[in-house]
Structures are given as C-alpha cells and as structure tokens.
C-alpha cells in the first residue's frame, strides 16, 4: 500500500501544479500539508524561473514573432516555474476566459494576456474581470473594437455573461435575458484599442487598450434589474455580486481542481456534482469579497478535495500529460533545443495553447480522449518514461535497485507504480504486466551487465505503465 501522506501530497501537487518528482514529494511531506498549501497560495512576485537564462537561450521569446514561440515559452514556464499553483492558474483562467491568437494574430498581445492570468490568477475576481474587459487580446477576439455607440456589437457583452462570469442559468432558471446582453454590450462601447503599428518592417507591436469617450454609450441601461448610466466597470460590479457568479467561479474551480463538471451551457439544468462543496466555495467567494485565494484555501483544505475517491479520477488534460511527464522525467529543466517539439504536444492532444477552439474553450474531462488523442498521449508519455537516459527516470531506476537484490516482478511493478504516482492499476492490468515481467526473467542488478539489463527493463516497464488506461487519470 502506498504511504497515505505521499499519496495525498502527490495528489495536491498534481492538481495544484503539474506534479513533482518523488524527491520533491518527500520533501513536501516533511514540510507538512498545511504549510505546503499556504506556500502554494502565497507565491512570490518574481517570475519563479530564471528569466534571464531563458531569454539568453531563447532570445525570440522577447518579441514572439509567432504563436509557437509564445506556446513554447509557456510550456517552459509550466515545467520550471517554482510557483506551480500560480502557473497552473494561468491555464485555469485561459481555459475559461478564452481568446485565441488564431484571430488576434499578435502572439505577444496574446501572451501578455496569459502573463496577466498568471500574475492576477489568485487575486480578486472583480479585478480579473476588469482586466479582461480592458485586455487588448480579448477586446480584439470578441470584436469589442467593432462595438460602437451607434452600432453595438454584442459579442463581448454576451460572452462576458454567458461564458466568463454568470453563466446562462442555474437551478433551472435563466440568469439573464437578451435585454441584459444588450445593456451589457452598450456599457462596453468605446472600450477599444489604440491604432497599432503594423507588422512590417520590424515585427509586431502589442495592442494597447484605449477608451474612446466619443464612442461610448452614456445612456441609461437596465442590467440585471438595476438601472443607471452604467459603464463597463458598473457592469462588472453588478456581475460580481450575483449568486450565479459565485456559483460559476465555484463550479469552475471545482471542475478544474477536484472533479469534472459538465460544460457551462448545461449548468442551468445540471446540478453540481457536489452541492455542499460548491456552497462552501460560494461562501468563501462572498465572505472574502471575491478573492480567489480564499476559495482555493477552502478547496485545498476540504475533505472533498483530499478524498481518496477524487484522486486519479480526473482525466488528465494534455497539459497535465505533457508537463506532468516532463516534470516526472526531469527533462527541459533548463533551456535546451527540442523544447519546441515538446511544446507542440499539448496541441496534438487537443489543447492548442493560446488557441482555444472557440470562445467556449475546450471540452474537458473524458472529451480529451478520442482514439486520435489517446494515441498521442500514449506515444508521448511512453516514449519519455521509457527513456532511461533522462534524469528523472534514472532516479526511478536507482530507487528500484534499492528494493532488494532480486525483487519479484510484483515488488518491482509496485515500486514502479509507487514512483510514478503512487498509481494503482486494475487487477487484470496488473497481472498482465506482472506476467510480462515474469517472462523476462529475474530482475537482478548485481553486475554491470545485470544493472544495464535492469535499467532497460525498468524503461520498458515504465513505458508500458504509461500506456495504461489508469495513467490517463491524474
């Protein structure tokens, strides 16, 4: 049986980050769960990586001429950011507050939005919505730059309500009407961008927000039952105090960190999986004045998060697959060539970072898996974990050699599973693997050639573990 403290800490570090090596998990256990949670919730203001070393190796990250450069930089940060929860919150918000560079076509503008998600991700939700409403990538993506006093474009106003804050409905009721959408959109007229220096001849310049008072509708609006000369800031204020907004943020956090919820459009009719958990998060939302950190603190200390039943019960996102694997095998922990190819993997698995398929974002949970993406997930993780040249895999080999002179296949397999999780396998899967190991003969590591063979067989065992159905869960 795996050590419960190790298992719980591994769970926390997988969810509140992209996982950790066994060495780190053990150090964190020694530090204590509550202390680790507080550390995760209180990251430093610094970038959490050696940015100077990164830019020296990858000078193209300054100007980000292509979205691939932005994606690659983000993946580097995901692997290496010592403030893992802060880093994961950037992805959390990106999966909700979706803008895509396929339309924005200015990778640095898009990347700056992600930077803001990272910096403000554990702050106040009202600040987040205000930032979003003045964020150049978003205003461009959802056509607010085309929304004028005399010709309102409803796109941003609609999605702000439908997908970014209130959600279409809860408890079988609609949360807002078409008139609310119109009022909301009117309040954001004139929230625009300054004219941008074009891409030629020196490369792109990031977009900048500009409020155009001449194009703003200062007229009276009725929004969610409140009437006044609202502008966007007032709309955000009204949004934040809605019970439906608390519900929205709570369900999103629960969905991302605890267990899969259905997509937002179904929330009018589908009740939360765990209403008491959602209510606890809603309470933290209002008690703290919309502070995300307060909600996360409740979440990570809750029984519903720690419960054994939610561990390895969420389908890993492609970011969890790719970054989690990289952190496990200890590769790309400092700049080196080849990062671009790693950074494209989430895209092949269905998560094209900075390019959500629609403003609704990605359908998650089991929808990450189809026969195509499963092939990509298996091929990637198994090729990494099967590579015994990688430092993290070497450490696993070393630890396995400590199991005893000649571990049985079962001991060896349990050792492997413990070190990549601790992960449990269905009995049939386990017996298939044990049988396979048995067929390979005794697992000795006394002599040089036995050690080489032991290392090779560890690689093969880890490779096959990475192909299992169980490995798809995190």
């Amino acid at each position: 049986m795996p050590d419960e403290k190790i298992a719980l800490m591994a769970h926390l570090l997988r969810r509140a980050g992209y996982g950790a090596s066994r060495d780190e998990i053990e150090a964190r256990v020694a530090q204590g769960y509550d202390s680790v949670v507080e550390e995760l919730l209180n990251p430093g203001d610094d970038p959490g990586i050696d940015e100077d070393l990164m830019y020296r190796a990858y000078p193209s990250y300054f100007d980000k001429a292509a979205i691939e450069t932005g994606q690659t930089e983000w993946v580097y940060r995901m692997i290496n950011n010592k403030y893992q929860l802060k880093e994961k919150m950037a992805l959390f918000w990106h999966t909700i507050l979706c803008a895509g560079d396929n339309k924005v076509d200015n990778a640095r503008t898009t990347a700056i939005q992600i930077d803001k998600f990272r910096d403000m991700g554990m702050g106040n939700f009202k600040d987040m919505l205000m930032m979003l409403s003045t964020d150049p990538a978003m205003l461009y993506y959802l056509d607010n730059i085309e929304s004028h006093k005399t010709a309102v474009n409803e796109n941003y106003g609609r999605e702000l309500l439908e997908l970014f804050s209130i959600g279409v409905g809860m408890d079988n009721e609609f949360n807002y009407t078409e008139d609310d959408v119109k009022a909301c959109a009117r309040a954001f007229t004139g929230w625009n961008l300054a004219p941008t220096i074009p891409v030629f001849p020196y490369g792109r310049t990031p977009f900048e927000f500009r409020f155009d008072p001449a194009d703003h509708d200062y007229g009276e609006k009725t929004f969610l039952g409140e009437t006044g000369n609202w502008d966007g800031g007032d709309i955000v204020d009204i949004i934040c105090k809605q019970p439906a907004t608390a519900r929205f943020v709570a369900r999103k956090l629960y969905d991302f960190f605890v267990a899969d919820e259905p997509p937002v459009p179904s929330w009018r009719l589908s009740a939360p999986r765990d209403l008491a958990a959602i209510q606890a998060l809603e309470k933290a939302y209002f008690d703290s004045g919309y502070e995300i950190t307060a909600m996360l603190r409740v979440l990570f200390h809750s029984d519903f998060f720690k419960d054994e039943s939610v561990r390895f019960a969420k389908v890993k996102s492609p970011a969890d697959v790719v970054i989690g694997t990289m952190r496990m095998v200890g590769d790309h922990t400092e700049p080196k060539p080849g990062l671009f190819f790693v950074a494209m993997e989430p895209k092949y698995m269905g998560l094209d970072l900075m390019n959500p398929p629609t403003v609704e974002g990605w359908h998650m949970g089991r929808e990450w898996i189809n026969s195509g993406s499963l092939i990509d997930r298996i091929n990637f993780a198994s090729s990494m974990l099967g590579n015994t040249d990688l430092p993290g895999v070497k450490k696993i080999v070393d630890r396995l050699m400590g199991l005893g002179d000649v571990p049985t296949s079962e001991q060896f397999l349990n050792g492997c599973l413990d070190l990549v999780g601790p992960l449990d396998l269905a009995e049939e899967t386990r017996s298939q693997l044990t049988e396979h190991l048995d067929a390979g003969g005794a697992l000795k590591h006394g002599t040089e050639s036995e050690r080489n063979d032991f290392t090779k067989r560890t690689g093969e065992a880890l490779k096959m573990i990475a192909t299992t159905s169980e490995f798809q869960f995190g």
Binding site: E154, E162, E178, G350, R366, S371, G372, L374, Q432, S469
Partner: protein, 378 residues
C-alpha cells in the same frame, strides 16, 4: 431510398462559426440587400447568378459546375425555432437535434450506431481532425479521429518490429477486459482497443490511393484529402465528418476579405474532393452535406455581421437532385425576427431526415427526435 452499388456514405462538413448565408447565396435583385449590406454588399457584376433572384458569392465559383449539372442542392432559410445565437449552443443543437434540452448524443453517432449496432467495424465513423466532435458522440460508439492520415499509429517509437509487436500485444491485453472501474475508464479502454485496430487498418489507406487531384494546403484541404483516401480504401466507413477549424466563419469584423477566403477554401476543396472520388470511381455512394450552425444578421455592422439565425446548407453528390429547397427568407423589415434576423422556413432536421431516410435508409425519426418532412433533394 436511392439505390447505390455500394452502401451509401454520408460525408458531412461543418462550417463552424456561423456562415453568412446572405453573402453566400445572395438575393442580388432585392434592393433591401443593398440597404442591409452597405459595407459588405457583393458588387452585382461579381455575383454568379443561379436564378434571376439569387446568385453565389464569386468565391464559390468552383461549385457552379455542380449546380449546372444538377448535383448541387441548396437549402435556403434553414434553422430551427427560437434560434440560439450562441455558437456552442447552436452547434450542439445541430449536433444533437435537441433545441430545448441539453443533448449529449450526436446525430451522426446515432447513424454509426444504427448502421453498425454491434460496433463490428471501428472505422464505421471517421472524423478528420482532432478531438471528438459532438455530432459523432454517442455512448458506446467508436470513432477514429484522424488528425493526419500519413502519421498514425501506437508506440511508433519502438523501432524493432518484434518488440513493437510484443508491446502492442501486451497493450491489447491490458485494455481488453471490461473491468468496471467506471464509465470513463471503460470508455478509455474501448478507445484504446479501437485506436489499436483503427491504426492498423488506416495505415494501409495511403498505399491504396493513386490520385493527381490537388487540394488547397489549408486544414480543410488536408481533411478532405484524407477523407477521400479513407473512402477510397473501402474500409466500410459510412460516416465521414470534418469541421472547418476554429470557429473560423465567425466574421464579426473585417468580413469582406476573410469571408471570401473562407468560401474559396470551401469551394476549392469540395470541388477537389468530388473530382477526386469521381476519378477514383467511388463517387456513386457519397453524398456530401455542408452546413453552419447559424447564419448572420441581415444588416452588417460596418465591417462584419453578428450572429443571426436562418442560414444556408448544401448537399452535393451524384444522386443529389440539384436545385433550391426552401424559401429565401423575406428581407422585409416586418418579416425579420427579433434583432433583425432572417426567419428560417426549413428545419435542419428536415435536411437530416432527407439524408437519413432517403440516402442512408435509416429511421430518421428516432435519430432526429420526431417526424420532419423530407426535402426532395434526394
């Protein structure tokens, strides 16, 4: 039902994002068109006339010959009651035929199930692109999602053939049992087995394909070319699906350039696909249906158009009876829906019913959730 030599195949392409039907099939003789489209109106001399009232956007020119030959059906004013202006909702409605309740089962998922109830062929339904579109989703139904046909397989990093065979064998044994660890786990195991089978079969398709036909180097071109290859290989694929990427038809702004490029991409690649399967001698049993989740508002917003309702859909194939189906929605101010939208007069489920009843020979009622009058395009 039409009689084909081989089992009928339904190919579907979703023009995701909400295609501007009014600038795709243009009511060029209606003065209101000019009033509504001061910025985006297509100059009359560029429009390709179909009738004395309606014409195609100039970028659709490659499809004119199918119209002339009577193989292109255009379904006008297509939609559903109380049209949702949300992409996701409307896409899901088109995918699930559930405008009121939330549906999780895709209509094409049901088709795959109905033509292959036991799931004997893992390639009965093939998606070209990544991810599983809602249209193909159905509990217990396998769909191969082919991002790129030319590189497709499992554990491809094991170089030694014998070793890879052994590893794949073990993989098959690990995934085989229905263990009852939960619905998602069962789903993943099924998907793994399907992936294994599908990859083996699909890897043989490019070797069977001999063609000189060129497709555009766009995502749509790649998907339609892969679709032609898989169809050509006679794997028994009955449902072929693809989606234009990234909500790409969502032309809120800067529409004049962008929309023309999108329509050109559609027309060029659809033409390549039809030409290809005809030259391969495999067009007899294919009908291609392409649609968008909604149309756009009648009036332009200065540089684009916002989400609307009634749109336009197309069916193309050797057995399609070309022509116009449904009525062009009235542009009269009083006839527009709330917000200035074109009223639909054909329910998309009528188009589906036509394809299911008359083409696939299935019971449409169960799939689309009710009786809808078929159109006569098949």
């Amino acid at each position: 039902m039409v009689s084909t030599v081989k089992d009928p195949v339904l190919a579907v392409m979703s023009l995701s994002g909400g295609n501007d039907g009014m600038n795709t099939v243009i009511p060029y003789n209606n003065p209101l068109y000019r009033d509504y489209r001061p910025s985006l109106g297509i100059p009359e001399d560029q429009i390709i006339p179909l009738t004395d009232q309606l014409g195609l956007h100039p970028a659709m020119a490659p499809l004119k010959k199918y119209w002339d030959a009577g193989n292109l059906a255009i379904i006008l004013g297509v939609g559903y009651p109380n049209g949702s202006l949300s992409h996701f909702r409307s896409m899901d409605i088109w995918a699930t035929c559930e405008p009121d309740e939330l549906g999780l089962t895709g209509w094409l998922g049901s088709v795959i199930h109905d033509v292959d109830p036991a799931g004997e062929n893992v390639l009965t339904g093939v998606n070209f692109g990544r991810g599983l579109p809602r249209s193909l989703a159905k509990e217990g139904v396998a769909v191969a999602s082919v991002g790129d046909l030319s590189t497709y397989g499992l554990l491809t990093d094991i170089g030694a053939e014998a070793q890879r065979t052994e590893a794949l064998d073990l993989f098959g044994r690990m995934y085989a049992p229905a263990i009852g660890q939960g619905a998602v786990d069962d789903y993943i195991r099924r998907t793994g087995i399907e992936a294994l089978k599908g990859a083996d079969i699909l890897s043989t398709a490019p070797g069977m394909y001999r063609s000189e036909v060129e497709y555009a180097s766009s995502a749509m071109g790649g998907y339609l070319r892969d679709m032609a290859q898989v169809h050509n290989a006679d794997f028994g694929a009955r449902v072929l699906f693809t989606t234009a990427p990234y909500n790409i038809f969502d032309t809120h702004a800067n529409q004049s350039v962008g929309h023309a490029n999108l329509l050109r991409d559609v027309a060029v690649n659809v033409d390549s696909f039809m030409t290809d399967i005809r030259q391969l001698g495999k067009s007899d049993n294919v009908t291609l249906f392409f649609y968008s989740e909604f149309g756009r508002r009648a009036m332009d917003n200065g540089s684009g158009t916002d989400h609307g309702t009634g749109g336009v859909a197309f069916a193309l194939g050797d057995h399609v009876k070309g022509g116009l189906y449904g009525e062009y929605p009235s542009l009269e101010a009083g006839k527009l829906e709330d917000g200035g939208n074109l009223q639909h007069n054909v329910d998309f489920r009528q188009a589906y019913t036509t394809l299911l009843d008359r083409w696939m020979g299935l019971d449409a009622k169960a799939i689309v959730g009710g009786s809808y009058e078929a159109l006569d395009f098949i």
